[in-house]
Amino acid sequence: MIIQRIEINNFRSYYGHNSFELTNGLNLIIGSNGDGKTTFYDALDWLFRTDDTNKMDTKYISKKRIEELSTNEADDVRVAMTYEHKGKSKILEKMFHFTKSYDDEVNTSNYTFSLIEHDGVERILNDGRDFDKDLPYDFRKFIMFKGEDDLNVIQSSNAMKILVDNFSEVREFDSYFEFTKYATAQAEKARDDAQRLDRKNEAEIKRLNQTISTETDILSDIEREIENKQNEAVNFENLLSNIKQSEEAAKLLVSVNGRIEQLSKRRTEIKGRINENYTINLLDDMWILLGFSDIAEEFSTKVSELDKKRRKLEQTYLFTAGQEKAIKKMQTDFVPLPVYIPGQKIMQEMLDEEVCKICGRPAKKHSEAWEFMLHRLEEYRDSLKVPEEEEISPYYLNNYIVELQKSDNTLNDNLADITKLRHIIQERIALNNRLHNDVRKIEASLETELENKKRILAQTDGLSEEQLLANFDKISKWMDNQKNAENRVKTLKSKQVEHQIILDDARNKLSKMAENTPAAIYAKIATIIRNISDAFKTAKEDNKLRLIHTIENEANLFMEKLNTNDFKGTIRIIEKVNGQGEAMLINNDEARIFNPNTALKTTYLMSILFAIGKLLSEKDKTVFPLLFDAPTSSFTEAKESEFFKEISSLNKQVIIVTKSFLKESAPGEVVLDRNRLNSIDGSIFRIEKKKPFDDKKLGTIQTIISKIK
């Protein structure tokens, strides 16, 4: 099937008539947000619906066209696809009529869905539902994809069944296998009925039949439990795969949180060791004296200077005083007459009598002569006193400087303590500085860890820290559960083998007992049919595995082409017990890569789709196009160009609606990146909103198409 043309009339933003002429190769439809990319996809999705759903949904009608219509005026919504299939040209067309009523309501009518076939000049009109013959409904999920999330078709509930039913080497195995089960039951019943006639071995036959019945029941129970446990394991695996992507992030978060906790603890502990109660230390521990040594030194110097000065002054004073004393002594030594001449009694007589008996002249009381005599008497009396050594009075009456010196000595003694104190303080401050330094280092590490935490949380698809940590707990719990279930399956399988041996043995014995009896033939028939049934069962499983391997091999070949110059891994597909498939990427050590980046995941899922497309083509002897809506959103520009280049070389019709190859030329102005487009072979369309438009009014939005190449 090659799609040649797609026409879209009045379908949402595709106002009026619009047409895409497509080629058998890569067709790129490039548009920015809101330009009509998804509408293009939805138009085809609507056209391909053969189940009559959303037949005349008014949401499909172009708002612009509705607003343009006058009352009772009408137009059509129409989507048509011209395609070539197995040598015939066909048009699949779906349309309905819409009329604007007087109250601005829109009424729909005249729905038609037709498949027009041109056979030479003849034009045959068929029901549109006949399109299912050209593109079976089940196949559509393997050719149309909306967004990257839609690519994992394998995991849908019936995908594996559809694949096996349609693409496996041998189809319809199920009905044959069901028949052989039926035939086995019938044959064994016939054998049992015939053996009832054997009275001779009745007891043994009964015992063997009892064994067969018991073992069959046991095996049936085991099989059921295996299925349950396998389902359980699959369920846990599903749960795990859903949160597996966050496992690494959760592990990192737990580790970061651990480090943050440790660092916080250490910070608290170190902060606790920092003792900076300096205000208290100043007075309580006399730290205030730390600055005193300088003062004490200055004081000491000054006291020393003062003392020196004092001593000098004192020395000078004593020297001077000594001199004066010596002079005075000398002066005293030169008195001409002794004081005792005349004697005390005569002196007193002279004074009393008021006459000088030495010169004979009167000396009236209080006269000069009388006063002289009195003075001489006093001098005499003084001279009679015991002479006292005249002491020189001290220069300094107060011992302040000496006191100062004493203080200085005390201070100097105390300075040793202050020096010790200085060491204590220095050590304390150094310790505190070291601790502060440690705290700073811890805080820097903490900041780094908090940044790491932010980064981890920013990359977890919106999962909160609590959810992530809860996932971490769940992961280990679920992994244990999954492992337990798998181990149980192993145990059950080994039990199954043991019971199968007992069952086979009982059956063989029963068959042997039937020998030479009328039941012999029935026993042989039952054995043959059972063995054939087992062979059908094995063939059915092999058939499925072969298909899976074929898809894997083809997908890996496509992966080689699509993911050049990048890590590829190996694509592996498994079938789960519930019938769902699961595509995964395997490392060379056979370990599953649980969290491939989105671009890698998209590429391997697309490789699988190309592989299925190839099978589809081989089966129907025709090729089918692939239609993707924005499949490469997660790709880098370089990867995208390489990817599209490879797709264009696949010789397969691929229609991709994308916003790739657009670049911003000015703020709000988006243009095609023609340089990058030059390397792409295929048809390229640019869809965009017709300008001007009212960004508040949907009725002004119209998609216009330009063919770029």
């Binding site: 080497e169 041998v170 009905s175 044959y176 039926y182 033939i521 028939i525 063995n531 054939i532 062979a535």
Partner: protein, 77 residues
């Protein structure tokens, strides 16, 4: 090769069946040869595939069961 022929090949490919009933799978690449095989298992497998025709109807199952039962009954030595 038709779907039935591929199915025949795949069932006859069963190692256990080959060992038990001693036949060479490569001798039976078409339905005609398998249907006319002297090996009873090969002939029965061919009959099941040919006659059931993908039906799941119990009446068809009964009919084919009787056919193969009679065939084995008649041809088992």
């Amino acid at each position: 090769m038709t779907n039935k022929e591929r199915m025949l090949q795949m069932v006859l490919d069963d190692k256990r069946l080959q060992e038990l009933y001693d036949y060479d799978k490569s001798e039976y690449e078409d339905f005609y040869t398998a249907m006319n095989s002297s090996n009873i298992v090969v002939a029965v497998v061919a009959r099941i595939i040919k006659n059931l025709n993908g039906s799941t109807a119990v009446s068809d199952q009964k009919k084919i069961y009787l056919t193969i039962q009679n065939y084995i009954n008649d041809n088992l030595i």
